[in-house]
Symmetry: C3
Subunit: 309 residues, 3 copies
């Protein structure tokens, strides 16, 4: 992938430390543009095909903002409309058509592996915006970028990740990235929603230092970063059990102040009730800054794969 | 609000005469750009988040045209897709995320007050594109601008407003604006669809000169402006009564020529059957010009709140 | 139509040979921009209203790419959302509003004749993107452009068109165009899906040289161009008959190599199963190039009707 030109971003598993560092550096350079402090025409004349076959206004708007702020243009497929496009057409054929139109593709798809199929068939770079129960690599990268910005380093840190670790593709992509560094990982979830074997196996192969636990308070204690995600009660066979656990994993200001006042709180958003709004005003509540960092990281990825960084 | 930079436009109630005049002046300066006679890059580098959680292609396209013709860019959420964005996410959180992406927000939302909540939580200006049974301030302003352009003044005029005055948020926003001027207002509607108390109370407090009546012909007589809106027959308990009134409030060319040939006819559109198409060719049929004026007024508002007017 | 400025493109029936040639020439000039080799700002300051009241991401993205790559901007209505726009509003009124916003309209509509109504009522040029069982003129023109590029000529050729010739508006628009040239046309379809009388009558009036047949192999033999479309089995009363015919009209590599290795294969896309993927790698498989040509042809049409070619 060397200089990234023409590369696809489909997984965080295969990124080397050098590649990750390069993305972080370019994202840092992009911050003034993402923050509206400076203007750029770096990608003038380029078109992003923003193909969101599953609704995801959040990730879609972030990609489109990144492209627009670098002077590029966007063509969009969004949500249910996308279904009709693929109706009776293979992803392979869609890829071969869209490459005629755009310079780069961002794709969200309900089917795991769909972005990889698109990348195999399109002659232009493909950035995955999430695929079913697979990965969400650009989210993982913006999470990592946020950790770097909040704490100034990746190494020698304790990072606790909470919630639905089984289905959370964001958690998976971030975990693969963190396995490159000297960090202590704590995974907090009900047993039924623990990390899937594909992730623990990868962490084991990398010799990652991680623990699994069920107590949010235990995970909070001593953590540098607390990464919250949602526990969906509808995933439990016993609704009472689901309800109980959903309420167990609710972070509030009192808990933070009592157990670990310096912890940086992150969340991929949207939040439902797993972080009380009384946390929002803490200077260490980083989740909205995290959303802003997403624009810078996606600017970096667009510029890199288009050979313009 | 002084110079409008950073201001939100959520209601026409709170605009002073000086502020209204300023908007009218800037909108007038924008006419050559709205009419495609001149090009502008005034808002180059700026992004409008066009968030239409309720479908409203008309207002949405008008805002997006205004932004595009001033050299800005647009990111869009439209219609049912919007529902999924807010599913489980508060408007407060949506605001805090979108402010990371865009420079200004235009929002249409089914829930009354939603634009105000967004404005309270976003650090960027918010322009309401209509909220449930609340207001539609940019429509009110473009209506006022149209009156000014058609008649050359606001004062010393008789203005008749017809139709569903109870639910018509457009009518409410325009009425608040007109209460600043020396005009005679006639409101024509069936009793069941008369102006709600919140509007009559406001008009009374301002000492506005207005009358309520049921006859379209009576309202037409002597009016300088006839502002038509739709009577929806499904709003009546007795369908026969609804049908009768719907047919009562149909303006045609014969009526105009017989009663008041000089009256300027306006309508916020879309029209159903309340203005016969034989009115369209009259030089005083202003409703399509009114739609065009909407682009100039929204250009003015975008430029003003972005500090670029 | 002379120089095309201000013209509408609603049908291929009425285009003269001179006009067709002009479109082909300008499309040829546009190829470097469509192929991303050069950049252009030819249509800077212009806005395309991309009104797709029926979902058609393919044609829509092609039009929007063409506009964007020439430096123009786009406002979009897409799919089901479009329904709400026209709910209770006539196409006439929609036309009179959109002309206030945009410089040119591309419209797809389920109702045959809708683009013509829009063109009659809008003071800006209208390009049809397909109307019900009517025409699809820009597809016909890009098909013709592809034939010219693949074979270097229109004349002295045998062209075979296969599939649902009854409902295929693409087939109709292309047939009208081909009737201008000295070509031998073979139409292959089940009897139930043969060319409708409106097309055969037009071909007869023009004195076109055409044959109708039921065998794909017979049509393939000696053809310079094989234009495949889909046979929809659900159109048959007897499902068995539908299934049998659908499988009859499947082109694969073995057939091509056995019967006619030099034939150029075209398809308007999306493909379902009527061309085996083992055909894709043949240098004479032109269907993805055809999609790319669509951008150049739509660039040409946009530039011509806006008086910028």
């Amino acid at each position: 992938m060397a200089n990234f030109k023409g590369a696809d971003i489909l997984s965080t598993k295969t990124l080397s430390k050098g590649e990750i560092l390069r993305i972080m550096e370019v994202a840092n350079d992009m911050l003034p543009f993402a923050r509206k402090e400076k203007r750029s025409n770096l990608l003038e004349g380029k078109i992003l095909a923003s193909l969101f076959f599953e609704p995801s206004t959040r990730t879609r708007l972030s990609f489109e903002t990144a492209m627009n702020r670098l002077g590029g243009k966007v063509i969009t497929i969004s949500g249910s409309e996308g279904t009709s496009m693929v109706k009776g057409e293979t992803i392979e054929d869609t890829a071969k058509m869209v490459e005629q139109y755009a310079d780069v593709i961002a794709i969200r798809h309900g089917q795991m592996g769909a972005p990889a199929i698109m990348a195999d068939n399109a002659d232009i770079p493909v950035l995955s915006g999430g695929d079913g129960a697979g990965e969400h690599p650009t989210q993982g990268l913006l999470d990592l970028f946020t950790i770097l910005h909040e704490k100034g380093r990746f190494d020698a840190m304790k990072i606790t990740i909470v919630g639905d670790l089984k289905h959370g593709r964001t958690v998976h992509s971030l975990s693969y990235l963190l396995s490159n560094y000297d960090v202590e990982l704590n995974y907090v979830s009900p047993k039924a929603l623990a990390l899937p074997e594909k992730v623990t196996k990868f962490l084991d192969e990398r010799g990652a230092n991680y623990k699994e636990m069920e107590s949010l308070e235990e995970g909070l204690e001593g953590a540098d970063i607390l990464y919250m995600t949602r526990v969906q009660k509808e995933r439990f066979e016993d609704p009472e059990e689901g309800k109980r656990l959903q309420d167990t994993y609710v972070l509030n200001r009192e808990m933070i102040e009592r157990i670990n006042p310096n912890v940086v709180v992150m969340h991929p958003l949207p939040r439902v009730n797993e972080i009380s709004t009384d946390v929002d005003d803490l200077p260490t509540a980083a989740y909205f800054r995290q959303a802003g960092n997403g624009v810078a990281v996606r600017m970096a990825l667009l510029a890199l794969v288009l050979g313009k960084a």
